[in-house]
């Protein structure tokens, strides 16, 4: 019953396992994830930088979201070690805020906007601690930061997609984390929401926090992010936008799916086509 791919992945993971840098907000060593027999993420190493905004980019099905979810333990990994600020992720949950894809939940759930934001306080209030006025004020403040203060008591199903995304971001803000992990935060949102979200993320970075986004839109990578991580099942490249977001790396990541004409329009780093 030994699957050659899995055995290989496990061995590979072991040989690669090296101590992770203590200052990296998120470091991954030798991580392999598989749905069924085919690996979705294969033996990936990643070291995300502190005080920076990083985009995880790659084609559809390249394992971008899978990598994030597996690092968080939302889906199981076959192998790999994940450290957050130098500690095993299980001991650093308080420092992480995760914003899942908007479509991953049922927005018909009976909850109001403030209910969802208050979920971000769970690790501080625990099972039974009473919610106080201070907690409510903190939640309202988070809504204000994403421009949703007027929607506090609205049922979440009655919001637009962009508004729902902002509520998710407000819930993450309520966690007061040091590492923000967002899965496609700009997918299917209006321009005003995109502006609001990027302003909040840049403010987080200015406060010294780390932000990692699974990102789809290559046209905005250079404007929004400092670092990129390119993945197509395996890690392709990783580094500052200026040196890693290059035509060569994009070709290696997307293969023939990215037309040269498209590449010309991107604000590529050094060594790029433009």
């Amino acid at each position: 019953m030994t699957d050659p791919v899995l055995t290989l992945a496990a061995d590979h993971g072991l040989t690669r396992a090296a101590p992770a840098p203590g200052d990296s907000p998120l470091a991954i060593r030798g991580m392999t994830v598989s749905y069924g027999e085919k690996p979705a993420v294969f033996s990936v190493d990643a070291t995300f930088p502190p005080h920076a905004m990083t985009a995880i980019i790659g084609p559809n099905g390249a394992g971008k979201s899978t990598m994030l979810k597996a690092a968080l333990g939302v889906i199981p990994r076959l192998s790999g070690e994940v450290t957050v600020f130098g500690r095993p992720i299980g001991k650093a949950r308080d420092r992480i805020a995760y914003v899942p894809q908007r479509a991953s939940v049922d927005w018909d759930f009976p909850a109001t906007v403030i209910d969802v934001v208050l979920m971000g306080l769970y690790r501080r209030v625990g099972l039974l601690k009473r919610l106080t006025g201070a907690h409510l004020a903190a939640a309202r403040d988070c809504l204000d930061r994403v421009g949703m203060a007027d929607f506090t008591d609205r049922q979440i199903g009655q919001l637009s997609g962009g508004q729902q995304q902002r509520v998710f971001l407000a819930r993450a803000l309520a966690q007061e984390a040091d590492l923000y992990l967002l899965d496609e935060p700009f997918a299917g949102v209006d321009a005003a929401t995109e502006r609001a979200i990027i302003d909040v993320l840049k403010a987080l970075k200015a406060e010294g926090r780390a932000v990692v986004c699974v990102h789809h839109d290559l046209a905005t990578v250079a404007r929004y992010f400092d670092h990129v991580f390119l993945i197509n099942v395996r890690r392709i490249a990783e580094g500052p936008v200026a040196t890693a977001f290059t035509a060569a790396n994009l070709h290696a990541t997307y293969g023939g799916r990215l037309a040269t004409a498209h590449l010309d329009q991107l604000d590529l780093g050094l060594g790029g086509a433009s």
């Binding site: 018909d108 009976p110 909850a111």
Partner: protein
């Protein structure tokens, strides 16, 4: 009227009410998790478990019945996996086949075994024996203060009261993890919540409620108690806290109204005999759901998944 009511109607009504509440509380979360049919599945699997437990111990006691039901659930899971793997059949069909077969097996076992000494036969298994859970020693409302009479209350009342209290306590204690993991499992997991354990615990509590409610409403009708009150409650409000409150109101209303209508309704129409209380309770809960569909203030989009999926 008073004396007769206390002797013949008070305890069945209380048992029906407590059973309805015990099922409705986990039902709220099962419904929101789109697992409502797990209640149905559990109620089916419970039957053979209870029958086997009875055959082995010769008594209808709470602990062996619960163990029997749990054992049957484990067998069901193994059989489902086996059918899926060996028969290459899709999960839904594998579950349907397993639960129906186990339930049918339970019915056959029950028919063949000598259970005449206790309240355990096919009809009771299907529809409960609420009407027979009367308080023989009661001599009117004063009996509520009479220790001798209180000691003779049907065992079923104490059992369902304990289960109902347990369900309420667990719901209150684990309210936040239940709410968070039901709404957004990925977020809950990233926060370090044991979502697998929470989901398993929820199904476990539902199983305990189903076994306890077996006395009151039987194993088929119990599914109405899991689904109807929470589904109707969802149409009344857009907040989980209030939804759960409404579901308790509807559960109590179904039980009380259903019992009264079953006992006295036919007489009002010139009939001679009362009809099945459990059946009437399920019908009333269905009618409440129907009414909520027609006039509930938040009836739009229940069960509809948001645009993307």
């Amino acid at each position: 009227m008073g004396n007769e009511f206390v002797q013949f109607s008070l305890t069945p009504m209380l048992i029906g009410t407590l059973a309805a509440v015990a099922c409705a509380l986990p039902g709220n979360f099962l419904l929101l998790r789109r697992q409502a049919l797990i209640g149905d599945a559990i109620s089916h699997v419970v039957l053979p478990g209870i029958v086997v437990a009875f055959l082995l111990t010769g008594a209808v006691a709470a602990i062996p019945m619960l163990l029997g039901a749990a054992g049957a659930a484990v067998v069901a899971v193994i059989v489902i996996e086996a059918i899926k793997r060996l028969g290459r059949i899709e999960p839904g069909a594998a579950m349907g086949v397993t639960f129906t077969s186990l339930f049918a097996g339970g019915v056959l076992l029950l028919e063949q075994s000598d259970t005449s000494s206790v309240h355990l036969d096919v009809e009771h298994a299907l529809m409960g024996n609420l009407e027979s859970l009367i308080w023989f020693k009661a001599r009117g409302w004063g009996s509520l203060l009479d220790p001798v009479a209180l000691a003779a209350l049907p065992d079923e009342l104490g059992r369902i009261a304990a289960v109902c209290a347990l369900v309420i306590a667990l719901t209150v204690l684990f309210w936040r993890p239940l709410k968070i993991s039901t709404f957004d499992e990925g977020f809950a997991q990233a926060q370090g919540l044991p979502v697998g354990l929470i989901g398993f615990g929820l199904v476990g509590v539902a199983a305990v409620a189903a076994v306890a409610a077996f006395d009151a409403v039987g194993s088929i009708i119990v599914i109405a108690m899991f689904i109807c009150p929470p589904a109707a409650a969802r149409l009344m409000t857009n907040r989980l806290e209030r939804q759960v409150g409404w579901s308790v109101v509807f559960a109590v209303a179904s039980a009380v109204l259903g019992y009264v209508l079953a006992g006295y309704g036919p007489l009002w129409f010139g009939g001679q005999n009362a009809v099945s209380a459990a059946g009437m309770i399920a019908v009333v809960s269905g009618l409440i759901l129907g009414l909520a569909c027609l006039v509930g203030p938040h009836r739009a989009r229940v069960g509809a998944r948001g645009e993307a999926a």
